[in-house]
């Protein structure tokens, strides 16, 4: 198991943002993390990536505990935070170099070329990040997440704000990456889940309400529309 989560909780001033959730994720499969706004998707991802410290419970990434071995765990994670924060004053290559050097110092120019090609940034690679359009910024965000070729990819709403053409490209890229990595993505778009996810976790008010494969969940609720299942479970 590359990600294993046991009874993970996060409380803010007595309010339970994430309430004792447990799940696992396997390599070669894309896990869709679904839930209404404020359900605890981002909080869970932020705990896995070491940005937030869990109130209780445990989780491990590639066998490394996210609290006691946080540095080792972080080395195996590629993370795209919500809203894709980037340094607008840096050039694309400079920024990717910076992110790469935080994992392993050395000459990264070859790997940067590779990643730029992979995410389709080639026409914009000499620009400053601040000058890029939303779609290209999203690609920079993805590029920085995969620069060190991590085992685990955690992508928080990677397709929000993209136009239909960009959506198709980015989805294809995530699908491609998911072939040999463990990928967790959060999203609100049900078609996207149908298109790329293998497994689904639906989370509501901090608790997991469904954890199944895409076919399994449809069978279990005897429904073909994921949207209906989502609404039934979370409202």
């Amino acid at each position: 198991m590359s990600i294993s989560v046991q009874n993970l909780s996060k409380h803010y001033n007595g309010q339970k943002a994430v309430d004792s959730i447990s799940f696992e994720a396997r390599p070669g499969r894309i896990l869709g993390f679904l839930g209404p706004n404020g359900a605890g998707k981002s909080t869970t991802m932020r705990m896995l990536t070491g940005y937030l410290t869990p109130t209780s419970g445990a989780a491990s990434v590639s066998g490394k505990n996210i609290v006691s071995q946080s540095i080792e765990a972080k080395k195996n994670i590629g993370y795209l935070p919500e809203n894709t924060p980037l340094y607008p004053d840096m050039y694309v290559k400079e920024f990717l170099g910076f992110v790469g050097e935080t994992y392993a110092p050395g000459n990264l120019s070859k790997r940067i070329e590779e990643v730029i090609k992979l995410v389709g940034l080639t026409p914009e690679q000499h620009k400053k990040i601040g000058m890029l359009s939303k779609g290209y910024r999203q690609r920079v965000g993805l590029a920085q997440a995969i620069i060190h070729n991590p085992e685990v990819l955690i992508l928080d709403e990677p397709t929000s704000g993209l136009d239909p053409n960009q959506l198709v490209d980015i989805r294809a890229l995530i699908k491609e990456l998911g072939k040999n990595k463990t990928v967790i993505i959060s999203t609100h778009i049900m078609q996207e889940v149908e298109a790329i996810c293998d497994d689904i976790i639906i989370i509501s008010k901090g608790k997991i309400v469904a954890n199944n494969s895409l076919e399994g969940i449809k069978k279990a609720y005897n429904q073909d529309s994921l949207e209906d299942i989502f609404r039934k479970l979370t409202s």
């Binding site: 940005y51 340094y87 994992y103």
Partner: protein
Amino acid sequence: MYAVFKRELFSFLSSMVAYITIGIFLLVSGLLLWFFPDTSILDYGYAEMGGFFSLVPYLFMFLIPAITMRSFAEERREGTYELLITRPITLWQIIFAKFLASLVLVFFALIPTLVYYYSISKLGFPEGNIDSGAVTGSYIGLFFLGAAFTAIGIFASSLTKNQVIAFVVCAALCAFAFLGFDYTSQVSALGSIQGNVSSFGINQHYTSMSRGVLDTRDLLYFLSFTMLFLLFTRLTVGGKR
């Protein structure tokens, strides 16, 4: 850690922050030292740098907050803080990288002022008649004072998302650390501990270094002062998760 340090330093150098703050620092110190009659060396008539060294701490109270105010505040506002924290490096490394990058900038601001030393030593009669020991001591003192102020600035920046608040808090803390203890020590109600109170202040240690005497007690004071504020930063940065 080196990657973060490099990024911080390059972002200073590629934006106007570095050039404007250092430029204004040099302009103001040059004007005060050579032009305005009240403080000018030419009117003072003695070829020594004491005036310069008693002036710079006050300029630092504005220069250093301007350099450090963005370090954590901007990252928190822009959301890049999340990107930074999820790097496989420790919080201490992040804090030290930011601290050192700002300190290097303070150092860059000081280097051009060596020209003043050269000019004043040429102006002396006989030529070169300047107390080099005191100047060296003062520069070392100034560097440590800069480090202490920078640590305060990094701490102030970690408190808030708002750069203006970070600037004002830093300037106020620097002013208090430099002068506040001296003023407090004059309160007669303190009685016998009056002398001890002023030894908490930066001014006393800085003045003692300016005499050209490198006392380990002063060095230790500056090092622990700097570390204390970096520790405060660690606590505020770590506590918010």
